[in-house]
Subunit: 249 residues, 2 copies
DNA sequence: TGCACCGTTGCGCTGTATGCAACGGTGATT
DNA sequence: AATCACCGTTGCATACAGCGCAACGGTGCA
């Protein structure tokens, strides 16, 4: 299909066999030396390859990064499941697991509360970016350069009286989430429902998902919900650990 | 530098954040949907990405493969070292560790024999492809499609009376190495020196290096050198295991 | 049933990627 | 010390690959 991309990928595959210099790569891929140089420059710009002192090219750090991220993504749901079940059994509250998919935050697991109350959410459904704790937690991990465009194109329609409806207030909120390491949703997404969420980190160190508990205030006041923060953070830490995350000392 | 390559790489980075569909990727990278489709096709052809049933794109298996290979390469020397030292201490023979770099097989470690005899080889030096056991072992792991061009452009100059000097005989030899899992060099590289080599495999399952012992026949006859095969294979297996290789049952 | 969404294709133009030829620095060889 | 070979690098002109556009068609939701 796409010649230059195809050639660049072949270079990566070739480097999988071991480091190599320009000429060797040019010969083994059948591409002109000049072209190989330029392709490798682009690859190196993005850290897919790098060059050592003796002009040997190697596979770069980005490869490891991507592999770690991909592993995390594939595994979170499976790894999180038993922890979520245990948490749900003990506290009996509606528990969500959500992850980034494309530009959306999507619920990838849900455990119902033990009481009658059911919330409007479903596995596979998208979480509102401006009003849910899981979204805040996940977006808070993105670098500003990625966060900005998302916030700019975000739908800020009010779902309740408390919903954050301006980019400015939202960015303030994100700043707070970054500082405290967890997020809340005080009746911002559904009237009379409070929620807190914490991040799950993977081997790459990046946030790969978020867990949250949601409780109607007829069951527990917001202050009582905060009593769940510590156990929730503990669950988050356990899942992160199982996903290969090692907190730096 | 190279627009389409750069865009393709950005797609991979983007997918590191989680699966996404065409439109989402088009928006987050600022590239036309049509173009994204075509780039993803090329990426998918090489298994850098794949599409699931619901048209979501994910990072593909090639990423893991490359990451595993790169890790292996970076680590072999370090991991192998203590095992080689132990082997060298016990048997006192010249021991080499070699790996593929570019189109060449290069000595990346060497331990001298305990007797006076020194061999013509040095860390960083290239091993002759047609006459050394390490090269045979490493090349034997390549698929025929990669092996062929290498053999075709190989230098078959005779170093001794026993050196393999034709592609046909070399391919026969490789076939034998594949079957028995190790290689020999019966005075093919240096007169009066016999050598046997075994592969080191990494987490990816591929051969990432080779270990060999070389002994002048004034010290040991070829038959006596074969007594070292079993311990050498044991060393190879230990290093492979430490490199993350798991033999399939 | 209608509509909206999203992946897909054919086409024609533009700009990018390519190969060539030549330069220059480095390291090995005699 | 001098020469040579090797290899990375650059400028340039050409060709063609990659691109965006517009339109199609299938699927799922309202």
């Amino acid at each position: 299909m796409s010649q230059s991309v195809s050639r660049a990928l072949h270079l990566l595959v070739q480097l999988g066999n071991g480091p190599a210099n320009l000429d060797q790569l040019a010969e083994s891929t059948g591409v002109h030396k000049t072209t190989v140089l330029r392709l490798l420059r682009t690859l190196s710009d993005e850290r897919f390859t790098f060059r050592d002192n003796s002009n040997q090219y190697h596979l770069g750090s980005r490869i490891f990064e991507l592999a770690a991220q991909a592993t995390d993504q594939r595994e979170v749901r499976r790894i999180a499941s038993p922890h979520l079940v245990a948490f749900n059994r003990e506290y009996g509250r509606t528990t969500h697991l959500a992850a980034m998919e494309g530009g959306d935050v999507v619920y990838i697991d849900k455990l119902e509360s033990h009481d009658q109350i059911r919330m409007y959410s479903r596995i596979g459904l998208r979480a509102n970016l401006n009003s849910t704790a899981v979204a805040k937690v996940i977006l808070a991990d993105l670098p500003d350069s990625e966060l900005r465009p998302i916030v700019d194109s975000m739908d800020f329609s009010a779902r309740t009286a408390n919903t954050i409806t301006t980019p400015e207030r939202y960015l303030d909120e994100i700043r707070m989430v970054r500082e405290q390491g967890w997020a809340h949703d005080q009746e911002e997404n559904e009237p009379s429902v409070n929620c807190i969420g914490v991040p799950i980190r993977g081997a790459s160190g990046r946030v790969v998902a978020a867990v949250s508990v949601s409780v109607p205030d007829v069951v527990l006041s917001y202050e009582r919900v905060l009593d769940l923060l510590e156990p929730l953070q503990a669950v988050g830490a356990r899942i992160s650990r199982d996903c290969g995350y090692r907190a730096q000392p």
